[in-house]
Amino acid sequence: MAINQEQITEALLSYIKKNMLDDAVIFDETTTLSSVGLDSVSIIDMIVFIERKYGIVIEEKDMLPENFHNVESLVRCSMSYL
């Protein structure tokens, strides 16, 4: 079954909210990651989560700041591997 962008977004948002953010933090796919205190460790954690869950490896050439601005950009980058 093909995986669509919404499913990855939902899975990633749920992972971030459960493991990285306090319940009081308002967060969605357009929120800038750094604005809620998500740092390099959190971003690598998100990449590892996506790589494990969807069996992909995000290549070095895609490790660009524009791909890690928010959940939307990270999911868009991941979609190109599926």
Partner: protein
């Protein structure tokens, strides 16, 4: 009466504190300095502290290990805290009287001081023992008392004991092998091997302007780092320390740097008590320090690998497991690795000063600086913190570890590499 369990990292600090031979130099006292725009009266502050349930509760906490087979914990003392506030007239950021003073875990683990400046304003200095809380906990503590937030038992951390399972044990074992294997061999360090009777701590602050602070991200990306700053900053620092050791005629081959990582969820208001930290461990090869890009990538790859292999969680399991050990055995296990120091140097990035604390007791906060503890050895700590969109670097060292000239050249190189993203010289 509250009884609060130690976190794994608390127990590590407790073992060091109880067993460290040179306690004068152990350096587990941390400070938070808030520079105010007007004068702060001690009586005003004392009144607030006496009314704060959180301050009074934490002021009454004493670290105890009642039986050698039991985990240490916090227990409330019945002694009332009168909040003696030290007042000093000085224009130095942190006068010697405060910088050299140490907080012992045998009494109250937190204290306040006021430095009155000749211009008529004051600086509030909050000092605490690292065992009681970490830097983020301290910012939360200040927020709680100055915003007069109602006291909650959740602020105190773990009042019940966590279960330790076989899975935790397996993680702890993996972490032990990882730490032992990454710290193998002779590690580079700035601290001389000679023992000193008394060590004098020094502090230098490197203040970056708003424009320079914007450069941090740009330089980091120039060095090939796609996100965050820690890999890039650690690369700059390692290169500067390496240069320093080479100028001393040494030929260091590898560095070992533990980097703390906060386990609290982002945006949380607690817990305040305890060190909710785990660590990444970087084994940095001198051969990878030739360029900023190579050094940053070398560190970033290690970070990704450690997250993938859940090393920080495993290390936390290890600290939880070791918390049960008698402090002498704990100390022996930590220190027995040859004659290596616990780290080549220490590096931490603190969270940004909370915006809600830009005024306190009606006074405007002009600047905030968090000064971490500086454990000896290694006796050299770099700490970064942001206030009002401006980065600042605190460099803590001991007089016998670094000379003034070495310190100045270290700062010069670090500043150049951070702001330009290019190699110095």
């Amino acid at each position: 009466m509250y009884k609060v369990q130690f976190t794994g990292f608390d127990s590590f600090l407790f073992a060091l504190e109880k067993q460290e031979k040179f306690r004068n130099a152990a350096g587990n006292t941390c400070r938070y300095v808030l520079e105010l725009d007007t004068r702060l009266e001690a009586a005003e502050l004392r009144d607030l502290l006496l009314q704060s349930e959180l301050a009074c509760t934490l002021g009454s906490f004493r670290a105890v290990k009642t039986r050698f087979w039991l985990k240490p914990r916090w227990q409330q003392s019945t002694e009332a805290n009168s909040w003696k506030i030290q007042e000093i007239e000085s224009d130095e950021l942190l006068p010697k009287e405060i910088l050299q003073s140490k907080i012992s875990i045998d009494g109250t683990c937190l204290s306040f001081g006021i430095i009155h400046r000749s211009a008529g304003n004051s600086a509030l200095v909050f000092s605490w023992h690292h065992l009681l809380m970490d830097g983020f906990g301290a910012a939360l503590f200040l927020k709680s008392i100055f915003l007069e937030r109602p006291f909650s038992e959740k602020d105190l951390g773990a009042t019940t004991r966590d279960a330790f399972t076989l899975k935790h044990f397996a993680g702890a074992t993996k972490a032990k092998f990882f730490v032992d294997s990454t710290s193998l061999g002779k590690l580079a360090g700035v601290s001389p091997k000679v023992e000193v009777d008394e060590a004098f701590q020094k502090l230098k602050i490197l203040q970056f302007s708003e424009e320079e602070s914007r450069q941090f991200q740009i330089s980091s990306q120039k060095a090939g780092v796609a996100f965050g700053l820690s890999s890039f900053l650690l690369a700059c620092l390692s290169r500067a320390v390496h240069q320093l050791l080479e100028s001393r005629g040494e030929k260091p081959s590898r560095y070992w740097v533990p980097m703390p990582n906060d386990r609290r969820k982002r945006g949380s208001n607690g817990p305040i008590v305890g060190n909710w930290l785990t660590f990444f461990f970087y084994r940095i090869k001198a051969t990878k320090l030739k360029s900023l890009k190579e050094a940053s990538m070398h560190i970033q790859l290690q970070m990704k690998k450690q997250i993938k292999e859940q090393r920080p969680e495993h290390y936390n399991n290890l600290m939880d497991a070791m918390a049960w050990l008698p402090t002498s055995l704990y100390f022996y296990l930590v220190k027995r690795r040859g004659k290596n120091p616990l780290a080549s140097f220490l590096f931490t990035i603190g969270s940004e000063h909370p915006k809600e604390l830009h005024t306190l007791l009606g006074k405007k906060v002009k600047n905030a600086i968090s000064v971490p503890h500086n454990t000896l050895p290694p006796g050299l700590t770099f700490a970064f913190m942001k206030y009002n969109n401006c980065w600042q670097m605190m460099l803590l060292y001991y007089e016998h570890v670094l000379s003034e000239a070495e310190c100045d050249s270290l700062i010069k190189q670090v500043k150049h590499e951070i702001i330009t993203g290019t190699e110095y010289n």
